[in-house]
Symmetry: C2
DNA sequence: CGATAGGGTTTCGTTATGAAACCGAATTGA
DNA sequence: TCAATTCGGTTTCATAACGAAACCCTATCG
């Protein structure tokens, strides 16, 4: 049967994964954040099959994560640019990068040293915090309406 | 040909996606964070096919995201529990949830209202910040070693 | 002791993926 | 100017992944 999709899922994580949760979509978004805009550049940088790239770009455009912009003289060349929705995946990508840097077996290259352009200081690690900026673990978080339901256990 | 995998990728995002980047893995981790530990419970809650769930659980155990614990009297019943590595996906899941809540078409149920267990106050939105706690957009972030290379464009 | 639950594996049909070939329009370059 | 190359795809085909259901063996429950 068809791959299960989560369009109408009652869970925002499932719905998010429905749009960017496959093997390639988040990598396309990541490279778009790096500045890549053209079909051939995505293809070269990612090493993705052309038909799959077509499919992913179309799906991301359809979901409003990217927008397709004509840039050729006669409307023949296009660029794929991030929308606000796409740019708002920045925290997701940064959290994933951080996790990969921490937990993924050592690689030949060091992790990217990302810094604030203005101050030159490192980007702060992605953490879940309360309103005062104190770090929260899974067990610190609960649902408002049912205090007895712990959201996080281990 | 075989699905492309990113085990040795020179990119921590790609390596992270290699471990949790398919349709089901992050949902399994999410439900583990909710407290689910048993095979049948994952199966019921997620509506995932049993063979696929087997495969995902085994892969997550293999990657050290979950650990398989014998709990039956004679070692016949198991639980799948989050490891530290798995728990450290909390920021990823929270960032995805936030994005899904913001950008995914309206659903019948309101977004989960997650709160700090100690103070009862809402969990702060996931954002990328600098060392002082100021929000950073994609364009504010650069690589340390090459100031001319902008990490984020749109 | 029979029924049911837990945790899988097997089988089989459908869908997704990847490599490569192909294609037409637009651009480059000699 | 005319051939070569680039861009952005589509088509074809073999292989891999997915999903549903059936099956299986070991506990546990009543």
């Amino acid at each position: 049967m068809a791959r299960k999709r989560f369009d109408n899922a009652n869970c925002s994580v499932a719905r998010a994964l429905n749009e960017v949760g496959d093997w390639w979509s988040l990598l396309v978004v990541l490279h778009a954040m790096y500045g890549t805009r053209r079909f051939v550049d995505f293809q070269r940088e990612l090493g993705i099959a052309r038909n799959i790239l077509c499919d992913r770009l179309a799906r991301l455009v359809e979901h409003g994560v990217l927008k397709k912009v004509d840039v050729g003289e006669h409307g023949s060349r296009h660029e794929y640019r991030l929308t606000d929705k796409g740019r708002d995946l920045f925290p997701v990508v940064m959290a994933l990068r951080q996790w990969g840097d921490r937990w993924t077996p050592a690689q030949e290259h060091a992790p990217l040293d990302l810094r604030d352009r203005a101050t030159g200081r490192p980007v702060r690690p992605m953490v879940v915090q309360d309103a005062d900026g104190r770090d929260l673990s899974i067990r610190d978080v609960m649902l408002k309406d049912d205090e007895s339901h712990t959201v996080g256990l281990d």
